[in-house]
């Protein structure tokens, strides 16, 4: 048996890690706003963030391909600035995956912030805590479980991504060939043994990550309301 090519696995983990990090940074303020706003635009924003849940990944990938291509204003501007394209690049995958996995970050965080509610934050304000202090010292620790759930779901969801990557990134070894694409390719070319190795690897890895998270969650119950 050939030694399986592990490059897709490494690339996938890198992609999932970067996307999770980026989404925690972008998703937290979005979730915060959704949790506490009284704006009439809230349902619109909620529908927009939930869109990737219901859209077929190919649809999302298609629009992203169009938007990020060097011929579009956005992709063109990027191309003239950096000399490289967003499509068929690792960065393009990051952008696509961030959009694709957005609801998996925003929704658990929004629920967690809503569970904290305005009460403790008002109490913190009356104890001389400013807005960022209130987030850092009260909301974030009280919503710690939400952060954990959001991270795990985002990471796992990016790990299994296929359609968007296929549309947007193609199949460039070491650059955009993530594990799901590699498995697809191996099955297409009837290399079942290699497909088994990667699939089983992904299966076991995913299970172990989830197990770890739930174990931590159980042994160190972060916050009960």
């Amino acid at each position: 048996m050939d030694i399986p090519d592990l490059a897709p696995l490494a690339l996938t983990l890198k992609l999932a890690a970067i996307v999770t990090l980026v989404l925690l940074l972008i998703g937290t303020p979005i979730a915060w706003w959704l949790a506490f706003t009284r704006s009439r635009l809230k349902p619109v924003a909620e529908a927009l963030t939930a869109l990737p849940l219901v859209l077929p990944p190919t649809v999302l990938g298609f629009y992203l391909l169009v938007m990020l291509s060097p011929k579009s204003p956005l992709g063109g501007a990027w191309f003239s600035m950096t000399g490289s394209t967003l499509t068929f690049s690792f960065l393009g995958l990051v952008v696509g995956s961030v959009i694709y996995s957005l609801p998996f970050t925003v929704q658990p965080l929004q629920a967690a912030f809503e569970a904290v509610g305005p009460g403790p934050l008002e109490a913190a304000a009356m104890l001389r805590a400013g807005p960022f202090d209130r987030f850092r010292s009260v909301a974030a620790p009280m919503a710690a479980r939400g952060f954990l759930t959001a991270s795990v779901l985002t990471f796992a969801h990016t790990l299994g991504e296929f359609g968007v990557v296929l549309m947007l990134g193609g199949n460039i070894p070491g650059k955009t060939k993530v594990i799901s694409i590699a498995i697809y390719e191996q099955v297409e070319t009837l290399q079942y043994a290699q497909a088994h190795v990667l699939s089983a690897g992904l299966l076991v890895f995913s299970f172990l990550v989830l197990l770890l998270v739930y174990t931590i969650n159980r042994r160190f119950p972060l916050v009960a309301g």
């Binding site: 009460g119 403790p120 008002e122 109490a123 913190a124 304000a125 009356m126 104890l127 001389r128 805590a129 400013g130 202090d133 010292s137 009260v138 620790p141 009280m142 710690a144 972060l222 916050v223 009960a224 309301g225």
Partner: protein, 364 residues
Amino acid sequence: MTGVLRVDVKLQLGAFALDVAQDFALSGVTALFGRSGSGKSTLLRVIAGLEGRAAGDVVMAGQVWQGAAWIPPERRGIGYVFQDARFFPHLSVRGNLEFAHARARGLGGPGLDEVATALDLGPLLDRRPAALSGGEKQRVAIGRALLTAPRILLLDEPLAALDEARKAEILPYIERLRDQAGVPILYVSHSVAEVARLAQQVVVLQDGRVLRAGGVQEVLADPQAVPFLGPREAGALLGAVVAAQDSDGLTRLETGAGPLWVARIGAAIGSRLQLRIHAQDVILSRSRPEGLSALNILPATVTAVQLEDDHGATVQLRAGDDLLLARLTRRSVAALELAPGVAVYAVVKSVAVAQGDVAGAQPR
């Protein structure tokens, strides 16, 4: 203007409208009194800056909090005790107190040990907030508010969720706060007994508006206040001095209305007390009653007669320097031909000590 908290605000919340223009004295306890839904808590939230949509002015001792400028809640220097305590569940009691203390460093507030001692919080410090009883919660919440080195304390019905025994346990702490901390207190309550016991000033709210405001003695002895205080709760509040401990177990009190005898009060001669005389505990007679078991009979003059919608009536009397209220039937008012200026004798059936430097002041 300095020395007062000037509030002139309007706020629409659905069908409810708050519309209050009122100056609050920055000394002692001012009670915000009213039924639930009258806007007491909302007014407190507006003062704290927690109702961002309120329009108008809030000026604290010359510093504009809202109006020409906006000072965010965290920079107003308010100690706020919420009805539902609102602890941070991820922190211990000590952690909750330190949260406040750490953010008030260098502001000259009390130390954690000092507050913990004053409120007897020592045994609670290492507990989780969820493991506190109702009374303990309120003590910790008061302690946490004090540790912010506040310029003013806003207490939103701190006793509402407690039973009578727990209330009696917390009240002395609040009294000590009033007498020793030197921080003005706005105290929301719907209990006349609490108001009489704690407050010097009272602002009565109804449907989001100020109905009456003034000294607590003056407002409680206002016959027109009876409908919103409730006939059972209405009654005058008068100052008294412990004059003598008689050998037969009675204590003689000197009041502006004359001497009153009550069952022995454990207070030193010369101690000052506030007495509550419920309107329904006062009987009137046109001539000096003879052969009556009641000890406390005060000559008085009718100053106002307020007929109620039902069969009842409230009569305000001047006895010496003090005002009293008596609750009668309209039939009695007619039979005795009571009208302002008529001389009567007020038979006081029972007297309650509302406030004073008596340990566990005994009613009656």
